[in-house]
Amino acid sequence: MTKRPSLFSLVLALPLLVWQLAFFLFPLIFLVAISFWTVKMFQMQPDLNFGNWQRILTRGIFWDAYLHTMILAASASALTSAIAFPASYAISFKLSETAKRWLIFVLIIPFFTSYLVRVYSWQVFLTDAGIINTALGYIGLGPFAMLNNNFGTLVGMITLCLPLVILLQTFSLNFVNRDLIEAAHNLRCGRLRTVFAVIVPSARVGLVIAALFAFILSFGDFVSPLYLGGGNPPTLSIMITDITKSGQQWPRAAVVAIMMIATLMTVALGAITYAYKERGK
């Protein structure tokens, strides 16, 4: 028999419900509605016009930008997770409690500075005459093109996601049952095999959620593709600004935004289903 929730727990959940309705559901419904509106003399007019959907979804450049954005976000998510894991592993398993606390504090520090400022400061490092290429020049290498391309964009996206992914992975690894690791070692399981056969499956939920956050943040990122990628080629977020800049076509931009939200929801649902899938099923 299912236990009915108490009045107290319902009251506690109410602010969240109100928040979600006010700042997610209603704006989403409004976004869907304006995707059918029309623009006349720079003014949006309520309508039921499917032209915006047809115009966006039948244009090759939308699908090019969509694919490009997906590849960038997936790459950023995979790279960030791969770079973060050794650090998270070291923090969780190798460091003392004091060192662990200090490192977690250090990982929070980047959030004190604006992401835009951090991205701009990367330009000093990545330009042809920047710090990295100058250093490489001393050993006869380069210059390498690191700005206004996908490499630059990925550097920015990893800058955005890395601290958060390390934190989420670390918290997840902290909950791995140490007895399982000891048992693996007792059964003569090597260190590397223990990581992949015991630790990673045990921390799967946290690791997948961390990768999902990296994907979500990168997929919608506007700053890195513009200031480190040079908008070359454009991502979906840049496409939204382009569409609104010329002709104030907010309804068409709404179509792009809805496609982005639908993609993120599908990816998030898939990732969470995978994360919580029971082993062997």
């Binding site: 720079f42 949006m44 330009t127 513009l226 908008g231 609104t244 010329s246 002709g247």
Partner: protein, 372 residues
């Protein structure tokens, strides 16, 4: 005897304090009542202290700016605001007609403004007048040409749009991310005397010419990105801009400059209108009178955010007295070859909206070009 003005008694001190406390709200209400709040819709920089500070002080006015990027953005902001939201509106010349057609701006009295001070080319500026009625007053203008890094290119090399295809510029050509100035330049490069009034064949040629440059392009930049990529030397050539950006960088010591190429340059203009529905018409008028006065014009020419050329001849004279170096740099010196000669020689064409194609056609092509 104790002087009670210096050492007041406790009772007197309490009375004075109470009196001051009671009077303070009235003082502040009076002060607040005297301060006129003037809302301005403009490109960034126009309501900053270097431009409006003196006017605010002299007239007890406080400007509330709303900055935009691009004419479409401006029209969108007005369209989505109730009438009277903006008292003064600064817009690019080509958008004045649209402001007027939509009924967003008021008719002005030409007698209120110093048109006699303006060079003849700016006294009846196209689009600012309709059926003999005035709707907007030009305050500044500028040229768009080839922006180049002076360490990488000589002025002679940069004096043709052909330099955009130079091998030295591969991956180093930046675009200011707005189709209108970029495609206008491509149209001039194609030899179209009226770059925005072109037939379908010429439009196709403009598109082909633009697409041929795609391998050269290092990026598409907004206002901030344009500044940083030029300053860092990451982009050594830039299309779609002019001295309004390179002038600011040059003043700060960056090796960048703009030149009007032999195929001709484009001209943008900025003008002030008074928003329909404003309750502060007189103060808005006073502001336009101030910024078109010789003193206001000289200030406008050297605006910290971005410098510009000015249409007022006495304004040139004041600028030559107060900042002769800047007057010379911007070629606003009377008695020698100056920017007015370039206009009169037919080297400069107005930037405008496409005449024979729809604006969205140009915009769609620009999106395709960016994604190519």
């Amino acid at each position: 005897m104790t002087d009670t003005r210096i050492n007041p008694s406790r009772r007197r001190l309490l009375t004075m304090t109470a009196g001051a406390a009671l009077a303070t709200p009235f003082l502040s209400i009076r002060a607040a009542a005297q301060t006129t709040n003037l809302s301005m819709l403009a490109w960034y920089g126009h309501a900053e202290p270097d431009i409006v500070g003196e006017f605010e002080e002299e007239n007890n006015v406080k400007f509330t700016p709303k900055y935009y990027t691009g004419g479409d953005n401006m029209l969108g902001l007005i369209a989505q605001s109730p009438p009277g939201t903006y008292d003064v509106i600064l817009s690019d010349g080509e958008y004045v007609q649209q402001l007027n057609a939509a009924g967003y701006i008021q008719e002005l009295d030409p007698a209120d403004y110093p048109f006699d001070d303006f060079f003849p080319e700016f006294q009846k500026f196209p689009g600012h007048w309709k059926d003999g009625k005035l709707y907007s007053v030009i305050t500044r203008f500028g040229f768009l040409g080839v922006a180049y890094n002076t360490d990488e290119f000589s002025e002679k090399e940069a004096s043709t749009y052909g330099v955009y295809a130079d091998k030295k510029a591969t991956g180093k050509l930046g675009h200011f991310d707005w189709h209108l100035p970029n495609l206008g330049q491509m149209s001039l490069w194609e030899g179209n005397p009226s770059p925005y009034d072109i037939d379908e064949a010429a439009w196709q040629a403009v598109q082909d010419r633009t697409m041929s440059l795609r391998p050269q392009v290092g990026g598409f930049f907004d206002y901030g990105g344009t500044f940083s990529s030029l300053k860092s030397g990451q982009m050594t050539l830039f299309a779609g801009i002019g001295d309004w950006i390179t002038g600011t960088l040059e003043r700060s010591g960056a090796p960048v400059r703009s030149v009007i190429p032999e195929e001709g340059g484009l001209q943008f203009t900025e003008s002030f209108s008074i928003g329909k529905g404003t309750k502060k018409y007189d103060m808005a008028k006073k502001w336009i009178q101030y910024i078109t006065s010789p003193k206001g014009q000289a200030k406008s020419a050297t605006m910290a955010a971005y410098p510009c050329l000015i249409p007022s001849k006495p304004g040139w004279e004041v600028l030559n007295e107060t900042d002769p170096a800047e007057a010379k740099r911007q070629k606003m010196v009377l008695g020698e070859r100056n920017v007015m000669d370039m206009i009169r020689e037919g080297l400069i064409q107005y930037r405008q909206l496409p005449v024979q194609q729809d604006l969205s056609t140009w915009n769609d092509f620009w999106s395709d070009y960016k994604a190519a």
